[in-house]
Symmetry: D2
Subunit: 348 residues, 4 copies
Amino acid sequence: MIYSFRNDYSSIAHPKVLERLMECKDEQNIGYGEDYHSDNAKKYIKEKLGKDSDIYFLVGGTQANTIVISSVLKPYEAVIAVESGHINVHETGAVEGQGHKIITIKGKNGKIVLDEVKKILDTHMPTHMALPKMIYISLSTEIGTIYSLEELKEIYEFCKCHELYLFLDGARLASGMVASNITYSDLANYTDVFYIGGTKNGGYLGEAVVFNNKEISKNFDYAQKHYGALMAKGFVSAIPFEVLMQGNLYLEIGKKENECAAYLQNGLKELGYKFLSDSVTNQIFPIIPKDMFPILEERYGVELWEVLDTKYYAIRFVTSFTTTIENCQEVLDFLKEYHCDWFLFHFL
Amino acid sequence: MIYSFRNDYSSIAHPKVLERLMECKDEQNIGYGEDYHSDNAKKYIKEKLGKDSDIYFLVGGTQANTIVISSVLKPYEAVIAVESGHINVHETGAVEGQGHKIITIKGKNGKIVLDEVKKILDTHMPTHMALPKMIYISLSTEIGTIYSLEELKEIYEFCKCHELYLFLDGARLASGMVASNITYSDLANYTDVFYIGGTKNGGYLGEAVVFNNKEISKNFDYAQKHYGALMAKGFVSAIPFEVLMQGNLYLEIGKKENECAAYLQNGLKELGYKFLSDSVTNQIFPIIPKDMFPILEERYGVELWEVLDTKYYAIRFVTSFTTTIENCQEVLDFLKEYHCDWFLFHFL
Amino acid sequence: MIYSFRNDYSSIAHPKVLERLMECKDEQNIGYGEDYHSDNAKKYIKEKLGKDSDIYFLVGGTQANTIVISSVLKPYEAVIAVESGHINVHETGAVEGQGHKIITIKGKNGKIVLDEVKKILDTHMPTHMALPKMIYISLSTEIGTIYSLEELKEIYEFCKCHELYLFLDGARLASGMVASNITYSDLANYTDVFYIGGTKNGGYLGEAVVFNNKEISKNFDYAQKHYGALMAKGFVSAIPFEVLMQGNLYLEIGKKENECAAYLQNGLKELGYKFLSDSVTNQIFPIIPKDMFPILEERYGVELWEVLDTKYYAIRFVTSFTTTIENCQEVLDFLKEYHCDWFLFHFL
Amino acid sequence: MIYSFRNDYSSIAHPKVLERLMECKDEQNIGYGEDYHSDNAKKYIKEKLGKDSDIYFLVGGTQANTIVISSVLKPYEAVIAVESGHINVHETGAVEGQGHKIITIKGKNGKIVLDEVKKILDTHMPTHMALPKMIYISLSTEIGTIYSLEELKEIYEFCKCHELYLFLDGARLASGMVASNITYSDLANYTDVFYIGGTKNGGYLGEAVVFNNKEISKNFDYAQKHYGALMAKGFVSAIPFEVLMQGNLYLEIGKKENECAAYLQNGLKELGYKFLSDSVTNQIFPIIPKDMFPILEERYGVELWEVLDTKYYAIRFVTSFTTTIENCQEVLDFLKEYHCDWFLFHFL
């Protein structure tokens, strides 16, 4: 493989995160999140939020989504998500596994459409239907799109009007924040709970769950332990966030990812490719003749995203903190040559 | 109210069921389903099935659906249903409450479309998606339609080819069997598990769950108790089935219900009404100007089924074992007069 | 069998309950508990309680215990019970099935000992142990003993001091109330939630769950449906309570049961029998030579309760609303004769 | 603090593990456990087992216990454990949280007593009690004791006779294996499933679950994802095991821990201390006058294990891969001096 664009969790961690880990190797820390690194990481996050939110470190995205949702909702309450939402498609029924229905709406560009949510609420039949109590959104979405700050505010206000909680999945938050100009403070003010993804943004693992609404975070530590998600070595989960959140590293990673993705997307557009979605983040979805797929898969580890018809596939390129403009240019160079060869082969 | 067409569970039970209950009032029976009546009811059912299936008496439809599904599936396995399926819409997340995802397909006329199921299987991503392992269908469906025997066979064979279980919800089985000519023996041969609805077909309560596939019924009694669904007075749940299944009473009830519903539907068609679905069972869904709804609701207890647009509603009439042709004719007479008055009022 | 003392749920229902059922047979009622009988039964119960508690009708004891506990507790919260408690021993893990740990204490005479509960609270390790949040007691207990009003008050006050809910399982409440002189009003004042058992006290089925603490009953109807426990024919579950609660029938049944049990227990004592517990309710537990068990089982359907050693069994006689003093005298006469024969056989 | 004996998860990881992590920092790996490191770690483990077991990497002990138990057992099945078992006491109801009852026995020295298990099986009441289906043991136990190979074999054979699965919790397996001379191959042959603890034995996190009985491991990857325990960066969880299992490092860590603990325990015995249990592993439980506790807590981070009476506490010292004989000697020296001072203060 030349360079893998398969995903943003191929490499262990950002060099600075690993450096810090090594610096701490001779320490003895207290267990279960009561250590210095956890406190310190929380302090950095709260400074960025400008708010004294409740923060917990979990180790994975599906885990974070499931435990947040199941600790906040009552057994008969449901979460609303778009059909393409990660919790609905790619979590092997984890949310349902803890007892909660996901009510899906079509959405648009991978995003919630409030009119559709409104219809869910209007046709709710008390007692006989699961009670909608939370909206789940992602920044960025599964297909690389983003919410604007205006959209986020509007959804949050809708939630407050209708006694719903707003939960934002931040598996790819760095890229999403940079693309949308949504700030930490916006996230603090316009969501009830969200998480800052570490795994896909330079951490070796870990997601920092942030409860801005303290009515729903009471005893979350019990919930964390109850669901097997409280790590004995809590400091190991906290250190990545200590590094990513100390200065501006987290968003710098997002910025670099987005720049590479944009460079690649633009280059591909110039070569005549069309795209499944209008991504502005670190995942892009070019449409290719299906015969090209094995070649690109071998060279770049890209995944098949969707079979569009008998001839065309949408595939996914993902950039990460390791991706360089050179990596992207190499893809473009290869494709230019490939096209040329293909042209020669077919028409001469 | 003149006569309630609201549903088929308005009256305590068919007179013959109540008679039998009274005949047994001085007996002392063993508890928890180990009694004579339970054995006897099972015997009658097995004779009709022509098969030594495993039979259990539960007390309600949501309970039956939930316990069957959660006792058969492993935690990470999912059930496929149409969007309008009872388990998906009207059970307050009960199936999810026991940990299982419902994968929905659009379907057609309230029925499963195998091409859509096929697509679910084809796009299944191992490990990352809940594993489809069961198809859920209803006879009759939520909108009064039925599967033909050919369709049932085809779905069952599809299931066997793809290692899926087929579960048939028989909340309104009497009406559905009569309309489709599907027999007890067909149900025994072409489903893995189904239930014979008592609550909506003349019993005071109770659903008889029938496992034709004994690989999945092992220790169902434990599951029944574990989910709080094993009645101390098991004989009270069994007696309705002893009566309904001894001769042909169950299907006679379905036949009468269907005849009344057809009479009413035809009469309404002659008066010019259109319908939401082409029902052949005991639920019919005429479309009415919304201003008529309060009048019909008051006289006949009918429910609003769907708001079609700003002017029209689809409403639901349900016939039951207590419904007579006279009850239906009274509706038609009233509407004839009402139209006449309305005509006079508006045009003269 | 001469007469079955096996349990108090051998017969369909008290004659007055069945009479009333038959009187209502031609009615058309609204479904899902929104009917006249449900309202009426609630009215009678509230009058007895002297309190506007929230009341719901469920169909079985295990179901009631499970749904109350799991709707009140958060996922990581636990209920405290004596080891012999019904929820701990005879419910096939139903409470755990909905996610909650039962923390057990030894107790005394089948009853909670507050010092033991105190120790549980004192050694609770935050985050790492399930959080004790409810005490579960039964009136009468599994071995026929009762709490006095003073004891009930003391437990309730303990609960209020320690932020615990008190839940009283009333599967055999009629017998327990009569023996303890605890009134409906006491139950309203000194529990957060309890249930009035119908199944074992003259109803054909059904338990009336009474929430005196309205902070924990919000949306219980959703929970009821979510757990498959909301009956379409809610009126069928309500009618027994309408009858049992209209006048004093419920306690009359308990009184008669207790009188029969006391008569039998006293007679057995005179014959020299010892007992496993000092029961004052409708279950008594004489200790017999194990060779006698098959004889008594055949004649009276009694159950083996505990194997005490290689020679002796504790067995259980249960009286019900159908038991008469004559039934009890017949047992005593038989045993007198049996002893006589046995004496002749062994010593002459 | 002089040196922390608080637990064996105070330090990030064994130096060799961290070294290896750093060596891999520039790699691009495939996600979700399909990477080279996962394969390699599995290969090393299988070589040690001498068996082609199914191996999965999870991130924590409570998580491993919960997912193994809930993926193996049916909803109504229960696991048997000693009262002091980790799953029963220190997991915040996690096993119950996934629906399973833990049936407890008193046990002896923190270990299962088969006679007690036998009694559970003998008094099992079908349908009405949760079905015992698994025995849970730990090596080492919560109080530092071990099973001998003979005991392990006996328990395993008992399990096979009674259709029970045997699950061994290996949170502290290195120390336990060394102390008991139980080998990897013994674990492969005499358990159905066990896990090799990483977190407390030199890994930064992670537990390697080993299914020797392949009948119960089918689709465990789905279960892993369903419970939120499948890491995107599976290679991060696998690397510690690659290092610990390549040569003999895992057992060397256990050996060193045990030697230090024995040195400390013997020294304390010579000073006249008595112990709560007769530990042969890396946890020791000296009994001290309670006034000494704050002093030892401050110097060595030790935890209070049990309040024995008004005067004495049992406390816990834990040794880890970082502990040296010098650290232990320092404790002994301090205590010698302390005793001397105390003697002077009290008697002169």
